[in-house]
Amino acid sequence: MHLVLPLVAAAGLFSIGVYGVLARRNAILVLMSVELMLNGANLSLVAFDRWWADALHAGQSMAVFVITIGAAEIGLGLAIVLLLYRTRGAIAVDATLADVAVEHRRAPVDRASEPRP
């Protein structure tokens, strides 16, 4: 197989992820696009590993590490997004403070779980 084939696929996945990160409004969709970018990088790592026929399997080990980091990132990221939703009632990444205040009044947020000043 020509090395260019997996590399172009990886570059395409990465660029689609970049578009999603820049253009999406919902924070969860932004995190999903970050996962697409990580997958693009992983695909090129595995392709280079196979091309190099590395005795240490550096590329595949690195791909496994990147998958682990992706799992940690999505877990922590979603926890932050849930905290944002609980305290502000909106998870739009371009929401101004005025929008958030309106959303907060509209959305039935669980007030009991929040600190009283």
């Binding site: 020509h2 260019v4 084939l5 395409g12 996945l13 196979r50 240490l56 399997h57 849930l82 600190p115």
Partner: protein
Amino acid sequence: MTATVMSVTGTDVVFGAFAVVALGSALLVVSSRQLVHAALWLVVALGAVAGCYLVLGAEFVAWMQVLIYVGAVVVLVVFALMLTRAPIGRSDDLTTGNRWLALAVAAVIAVALVTMLIDGFREAYVPLRTDAVTTTGELGSSLFRFWILPFEALSVLLLSALVGAIVVSRPRDGTR
């Protein structure tokens, strides 16, 4: 292994099919107007990437992709969509106003990367033989023989991410 520029083998065709499925569903992930559909298209995209790994002969990475990404990450994402009360039907405000700028940036990155990769690796050829598949045993012994330090560092990273997620999402009602 020598190969003419235009030679297309069976693995090329299978890999190309997986890559087309991955790219198409990735496009649907970033362009779908329904949040839940985007999450489900993410399953298809990540599964197709796992198929790409299998064709490339990276067996362990492929099954890790299926287990962690398709199994765990997407479930987390769907749970988060549920907990943030994501709308089920179509919602037309999922992309911000700077989507054309984002499209331009992504197109520039894609053109630059593809041009550079084709220019640099036009001649490179990966000989995919069935006896050269990296088995799980080989990768495991390599991981625990040469890559043990990053492996342990990542264990600490996962632990701290877990603790951090618990601390961040703990309800703050004064009854700690």
